[in-house]
């Protein structure tokens, strides 16, 4: 039964056209997601990290089918998305919800909290108004707000409270999977901690799986069981959080970890030298897309793109070093 992962993504591709129109061809293609495969188990919290433009948000939207992929396959609960008809898709959608980054723009300012929270219910199920209200009140209490908040408008709440409303809305249809796209990035540290703790609680109470998208490694490490690092549309490393932070294998992951300023003035680390910007995804470098910034780069890196290979039982890396095993040993 539990053999089938909740979500399985196979070789997913999304290319966006640049320019072009009704009659002309696109000038170029942006390879936002370029051959990504992974799966998410039931009850698991799966982290997607990477810098801006690495394709993590596009990947999240592809999974929710908010946009259509250019290639590849997504299976939810063993069922292939592309083979479902509209009605089936609709019922499957209820089992996946999203939490957005910006708590200010993701709530309709003219809708009362009650209407916002129950909107997914109205769209999907035939339930009486009274029942919906009851459900909304219960949900608000579960996320740390009160039933009296039902008739308020978003502007009456702080950023952290708004994010709680967004979470209640996502929980409303009792989903199995929540894609959380930078859910705490817009919040202050003390409020961020409140929301992270709430999300951890809810995961246990509602038996949820999370796909947690973030640029913040400390947050992802805190909340996730497994982490995938993305760069220019591809996964570079995928590992359980423990082995990820103890012995990351990809030079990019290592540089990323070293670049996070640590709140410890006794350990002032000189960041690992990684020059340059993320390359343009319209015209990515040959071979391994990281090679122009990689201090270990050698001939093979420029020539061939390394596949994501299994190094230990659950640690995967896409790197040419050490016959595809990446860098060995821990980091400082």
């Amino acid at each position: 039964m539990s053999e089938i992962p909740l979500l399985a993504v196979h070789d997913l591709v999304k290319h966006f056209p640049l320019g072009g129109g009704l009659l002309s061809r696109p000038r170029a293609w942006v390879r936002a997601v370029d051959g990504v495969s992974f799966d998410v188990k039931r009850g698991e919290s799966f982290g997607l990290v990477g810098e801006s433009g690495c394709g993590k948000t596009t990947l999240g939207r592809l999974i929710l089918r908010l946009i259509d992929p250019s290639g590849g396959r997504i299976e939810f609960d063993g069922r292939d998305f592309s083979r479902l008809n509209r009605a089936e898709m609709r019922s499957l959608r209820q089992r996946m919800q999203i939490i957005f980054q910006d708590p200010y723009s993701s709530l309709d300012p003219r809708m009362k909290v009650y209407a916002t929270v129950t909107e997914p219910l109205r769209a999907n199920q035939r339930i009486s108004k009274a029942k919906r209200r009851e459900a909304a009140a219960e949900l608000l209490e579960r996320v740390g707000l009160q039933a009296v908040d039902l008739d308020k408008y978003p502007h009456e709440f702080s950023g952290g409270q708004r994010q709680r409303i967004g979470i209640a809305r996502a929980l409303c249809v009792r989903p199995d999977l929540i894609v959380a796209d930078e859910p705490v990035s817009a919040l202050d540290v003390s409020i961020q901690a409140q929301v992270i703790n709430l999300m951890e609680h809810l995961r246990e109470d509602f038996e949820l799986s999370y796909i947690f998208i973030s640029h913040d490694l400390s947050v992802v490490e805190h909340i996730c069981d497994r982490i995938a690092v993305m760069y220019l549309g591809a996964i570079f490393e995928l590992a359980p959080t423990e082995s990820f932070s103890v012995a990351p294998r990809h030079p990019y992951t290592r540089a990323l970890l070293m670049a996070v300023p640590q709140p410890d003035p006794h350990r002032r680390v000189k960041p690992l030298s990684m020059e340059g910007d993320v390359p343009n995804p319209i015209d990515p470098p040959s071979g391994c897309t990281f090679h122009p910034r990689c201090q270990h780069a050698f001939d093979r890196c420029r020539a061939q793109r390394p596949p994501l290979v299994q190094v230990t039982s659950n640690h995967y890396v896409a790197c040419c070093l050490n016959e595809g095993r990446g860098v060995e040993g821990g980091i400082e």
Partner: protein, 335 residues
């Protein structure tokens, strides 16, 4: 008072709004020595940005109203200067870089022109000299092929490159003080690391002081020598960087540090739960009789709600705005 570069004495900034008077900054005092890096930390709305804007006379008035016993820069009170004299200080002796490099650069002027501008305005260089100097500074800010980029517009550059342009622009006149307001918040971590090390390098080279305003305690730990923590418009703690992280005194500072998720090598299983600071920041329009943090403080007792605590000396160079200094037995152990 040898070596004091900047002294801010009892600064308050109020904004008049329909909801009442918002005290964005409420009696803030601190100073900066030459060549030092001071971290000004706090969450959104704590008044850290408004404090920095009032140093340069950039608070829009009306609606803003700056009241202070003095903002002394090298002994001169900046509040007494006329607009022209203040303009000479700005950009020449004190420079500022902002969080969002896209909105603080002029989108319709080439970057070379923008970097050369302070030189034309303050140093009286000729146009060709100024452009030459600008190119040299862009190179020092590690912009690749800087000379070819003089005619580029901001939209042609990435976020990190734009912030490098901002830094070059702030540095051209070799200021004595650089105010950096969340300089890396909009950037990715790897780019942040590049920008921070660039700032450290240039700071040492020029021997200037840095007022680093940020919400990121990691950045402060890595950069600052002294830290001022602000909450709801007030300074709540001030100390050397080691003391702030090793023995923070104020419950707010302690709460902030404990609520940060840290990159730690996790041994099996779940990480510890993050500490939360319950509740939210009070509205700036609220009149609070006692301590402004009382409603969120785990150690709160009667006095805290009745009387407003002063910024008490705790130890060597450490000060905290908290009654626990006089009533240490009130500190609860299990929080």
């Amino acid at each position: 008072m040898m070596g004091k570069l900047l002294e801010i004495d009892n600064l308050s900034v109020q904004f008049h709004s329909p909801e009442g008077v918002a005290r964005a900054v409420d009696g803030v005092s601190f100073d900066l020595t030459r060549g030092e890096t001071l971290g000004l930390v706090g969450e959104s709305g704590c008044g850290k940005t408004v404090t920095s804007l009032s140093i340069l006379g950039l608070v829009p008035s009306p609606p803003g109203q700056v009241i202070s016993d003095g903002i002394l820069f090298e002994g001169r009170n900046l509040l007494d200067l006329n607009p022209e004299a203040l303009r000479q200080v700005r950009g020449q002796e004190i420079s500022m870089i902002f969080q969002e490099p896209m909105t603080s650069l002029n989108p319709v002027l080439p970057i070379g022109r923008q970097v050369a501008e302070p030189l034309l305005a303050h140093k009286g260089l000729s146009k060709s000299e100024a452009y030459e100097e600008a190119a040299a500074w862009l190179e020092r800010a590690k912009i690749p092929a800087a000379r070819e980029r003089l005619n580029n517009y901001p939209h042609q550059l990435s976020g990190g490159m734009r912030q490098r342009v901002m830094i070059a622009m702030a540095m051209v006149c070799r200021p004595k003080l650089l105010i950096a307001d969340e300089p890396t918040t909009a950037l990715d971590v790897t780019i942040q690391a590049q920008i921070l090390s660039l700032m450290v390098g240039l700071k040492e080279e020029l021997g200037m002081a840095l007022l680093l305003i940020t919400h990121d305690l990691g950045v402060v730990a890595q950069m600052a020598s002294r830290v001022v923590v602000m909450y709801a418009g007030e300074v709540v703690e001030e100390a050397g960087v080691m003391d702030v992280f090793d023995r923070p005194f104020h419950p707010y500072t302690q709460g902030l540090l404990k609520s940060m998720p840290r990159l730690v090598t996790r041994v099996r299983g779940r990480a510890h739960r993050l500490n939360e600071i319950m509740g939210t920041v009070p509205a700036l329009t609220e009149m609070i009789q006692g301590c402004k943090f009382a409603d969120r403080c785990p150690h709160v007792f009667q006095l805290c709600r009745k009387a407003h605590p002063g910024l008490f000396a705790i130890g060597d160079g450490q000060r905290a705005r908290c009654w626990l200094r006089d009533y240490p037995q009130r500190r609860k152990v299990d929080v």
